[in-house]
Symmetry: C2
Subunit: 165 residues, 2 copies
């Protein structure tokens, strides 16, 4: 183990500079989401879903976000153990996921929250969320309804084997 | 499926602007790696490991990198299916991983490549690498020697269950 590395898995709050940057994050127009979903602010969505939801401050203090205020979220299928997809969350996406048990991510291309499967019906029921040792990724244990991938495939990793051959 | 989303799992090359930005990426000093490793450029490393290694242009053309030239890499344990860790790669890290079958990542804090387990011996032998549908994440199927986490835990997700409770 490198001497410069510390165990960050404890629950002590981080510095005050680790604020939620969701109000100031730039949007990246070049990135597509990997799943068919309806944004929460869509006109067909129940407006009650768009109310702000606060993340538990004790959890928020343990997150390490990127420059856009986001962290990675891995969805793994309960039972099969298959890694279904990698997506992104901000604080509110995590708060909603924990509160509703429906996987909710942050769309980098649209700059808004989306409930996975809101359009397709290919929802993810969340059994647990685990934070990694340095606070920049969460692992969701989910029941996947239908295909997780917007292509219809069961996982987003089914189609492109790079190697080794 | 949303009409604005396309299947990116084919092998057609992307635009010319998707170049390797590894020479110009800024380093982030605020981020720690999650695993105990020795950098490839370390004085104790075999210098033959530091020679540049090019990624297959057909693979490079399918990658979608972040502003720092990086993409996410998920290591999953063969046999158990456990998600061990999330790390980051640049093009050369992926090239080395494919060529050597030893998981090799890019350290955001040190701004250099590292072979997982080079110091600790907790290496990852890579059986396969899969790219996801929108090209911004890879999934590694690995044999993990020892604990994957720098804390000694088997995975980086063992310690911090956020909920739901």
């Amino acid at each position: 183990m490198s001497g410069s590395e510390e165990d960050k898995s404890d629950t002590s709050p981080m510095s005050g500079s680790e604020e939620d940057k969701s109000d100031t994050r730039p949007m990246s127009g070049s990135e597509e989401d990997k799943s068919d979903t309806r944004p929460m602010s869509g006109s067909e969505e129940d407006k009650s879903d768009t109310r702000p939801m606060m993340l538990d401050p004790e959890i928020a203090a343990r997150l390490k976000r990127d420059a856009n205020g986001l962290f990675a979220a891995i969805a793994q299928e309960r039972g099969t153990g298959k890694v279904l997809m990698l997506a992104w969350m901000d604080d509110e996406a995590l708060a909603r996921t924990l509160a509703t048990r429906q996987a909710t991510y942050y769309s980098r291309s649209r700059g808004e929250l989306w409930v996975k499967g809101a359009t397709s019906g290919h929802t993810q029921y969340v059994h647990s969320v685990r934070l990694d040792c340095d606070g920049d990724a969460v692992l969701l244990d989910v029941d996947q309804t239908g295909g997780a991938c917007h292509t219809g495939a069961h996982t987003c990793f089914d189609a492109d084997l790079l190697g080794p051959v």
